[in-house]
């Protein structure tokens, strides 16, 4: 390299250039890095072809200039000069820096300065090599972002799996409790019936015995709910028209809706069929609409119910399922009620979670909804804004081959 740096080798003195020098020039020119030779006065003495191409300035106009002339005075004083000085003191300097280039904006560079010594060890020049790593950087950044996203999805999946297992265990437990409870209830109701038989019709004790039977009836409906929850995944499914069930449930709810609440519907015409237990589907709709009405607490408001069909391809990122159905029935319930707290939002699908007073709700409603929907290979999404309202979106795979 030292030979290459000899004054006599400068361009323009090409006549005396040796073959060896031409080879060196060629090697240096074809490097993908910008290579330059800088003297003690911080001035360029030579630059390679990559350098001139990057700056779109011929080498003749660069020679004699300082890096500050090319990269800006501020960058020179702050960043370049201190490193050049370190190199002139005998060290090889490597660093990364970003520069605002006039031609292609902000770019990242790997910079190295290597001192060039004379035979006596005096540093007269340095070789600066500057490599553009912007695209490498951005691909690295993209990779690390991709890794982060992957990890997040993994964690999310693990959480879902854990939730599913918890729910399954809870289902088994709840099913067992319901079973034992039904046995106890059967004993209570059996003896009470015998008591009723033994008592004269007009006896005041008859009324009390009947009250026991009423209580047994209520307890029974509770164990039924628990069993429904524990039975998730074992529904009897058939081809069911979503629109029909939705309309029926709306009519059912409308009868008990306070006059200040308006129910708006937007249901697409034509059959939209899904595989479902019609009674369960009815219950899901009823549950979501009842919740919506309760969120409006008898104040004026609007409940908007919608049914549409969307393509599975549009939902891939949202569904995060291995198998996405070609088409989904999208059922929406939007209310203008009190909205759901962030803290509450995380738990709304948990079994036994309720915001109602103790004794006013079992907390099974939405967990049953969630379980039933999952069993239909569907998904349920909720979004809410405090005091603005809540939107429940239900996606159920549309049956393609309609059974004739």
């Amino acid at each position: 390299m030292k030979r290459y740096l000899k004054k006599s080798d400068k361009p323009g003195t090409g006549k005396s250039e040796s073959v060896e020098n031409r080879v060196y020039s060629r090697v240096v020119d074809t490097s993908r890095s910008m290579i330059s030779v800088i003297n003690r006065n911080y001035r360029y003495e030579r630059v390679n072809r990559t350098f001139t191409r990057a700056h779109k300035i011929p080498s003749g106009k660069i020679i004699g200039k300082t890096p500050g002339d090319l990269w800006g005075r501020e960058a020179f004083e702050r960043n370049i000069k201190p490193n050049l000085d370190r190199c002139f003191s005998g060290k090889t300097v490597k660093y990364e820096a970003s520069f605002d280039t006039p031609l292609s904006g902000k770019r990242f560079f790997e910079v190295s300065f290597r001192p060039v010594r004379t035979a006596k060890g005096k540093i007269t020049h340095l070789i600066a090599e500057t490599h553009d790593v912007t695209s490498l950087r951005s691909s690295q950044k993209a990779t690390s972002e991709l890794k982060k996203e992957l990890r997040r999805m993994e964690l999310d999946y693990e959480k879902r799996l854990l939730d599913a297992r918890k729910l399954e265990a809870l289902g088994v437990l709840a099913g067992g409790i319901a079973h034992d409870f039904n046995n106890i209830l059967a004993t209570v109701s059996g003896y009470t019936e015998m008591l009723l038989e033994d008592l004269p019709e007009e006896s005041p004790s008859s009324h009390k015995a009947r009250q026991i039977l009423n209580a047994v009836g209520r307890a029974r409906s509770l164990t039924e709910q628990i069993l429904t929850f524990s039975r998730q995944g074992k529904q009897k499914k058939e081809v069911t028209s979503v629109g029909k069930i939705l309309k029926e449930s709306i009519e059912f709810v409308r009868a008990g809706t306070p006059p200040q609440v308006i129910i708006r519907t937007e249901i697409i015409s034509g059959e939209v069929n899904v595989m479902a237990d019609p009674a369960q589907l009815f219950r899901i709709f009823l549950n979501l609409m009842t919740n919506a009405l309760q969120a409006m607490e008898g104040k004026a408001g609007t409940l908007s119910v919608g049914l549409a069909v969307v393509n599975g391809s549009e939902l891939e990122s949202e569904l995060r399922k291995e198998k996405v159905a070609p088409r989904y029935a999208l059922i929406t319930f939007r209310d203008t009620g009190s909205g759901i707290d962030r803290a509450v939002m995380q738990k709304i699908f948990d079994p036994f979670f309720t915001t109602r007073e103790i004794g006013k709700g079992t907390g099974l409603g939405l967990s049953v909804v969630h379980g039933t929907v999952s069993d239909m290979d569907g998904e349920i999404f909720v979004s809410s804004r405090k005091n603005k309202g809540t939107l429940f979106r239900l996606l159920l795979p549309v049956v393609i081959n309609k059974i004739q």
């Binding site: 289902g171 079973h179 039904n182 046995n183 059967a186 004993t187 059996g190 015998m194």
Partner: protein
């Protein structure tokens, strides 16, 4: 009087059912699980089997299959309180296996007695 094999692992419930059946003058033979039930079943004596479904040892479905095999004319009532598969599934399975009637716990004892009498063709 007709003899009934009563199979129920829940002892309080079995006792209640025994009393209710005895009040109607039925002879009651008791069993606490499926294995005991199969052992105590006498084709010449037992007219009706009232069996729980989810039980330790052999379950109620096994009892139904066994007694039907030994005595096709025997009457069977299955009762269940549900469990991991829910009452509906077990009871419909019991029905498919040949139970004449199924009751989901808690049931009305009056209705159970009525059904027992109906199956045994007893004039009320």
């Amino acid at each position: 009087m007709a003899a009934i094999l009563l199979v129920e692992d829940e002892l309080e419930l079995k006792e209640m059912l025994k009393i209710a059946l005895a009040r109607r003058s039925f002879t009651v033979i008791e069993a606490e699980n499926g294995r005991e039930a199969i052992a105590r079943f006498r084709p010449g004596i037992t007219d009706l089997v009232i069996t729980d479904l989810i039980m330790p040892e052999e379950d109620g479905l096994k009892v139904i299959i066994k007694v039907r095999e030994v005595k096709p004319s025997v009457r069977i009532i299955a009762i269940s309180g549900g469990g991991k598969a829910g009452p509906g599934n077990y009871l419909s399975l019991a029905k498919a296996l040949g139970a004449d009637a199924v009751f989901s716990k808690p049931f009305s004892i009056a209705e159970l007695l009525k059904k027992a009498e109906e199956l045994l063709e007893i004039e009320q």
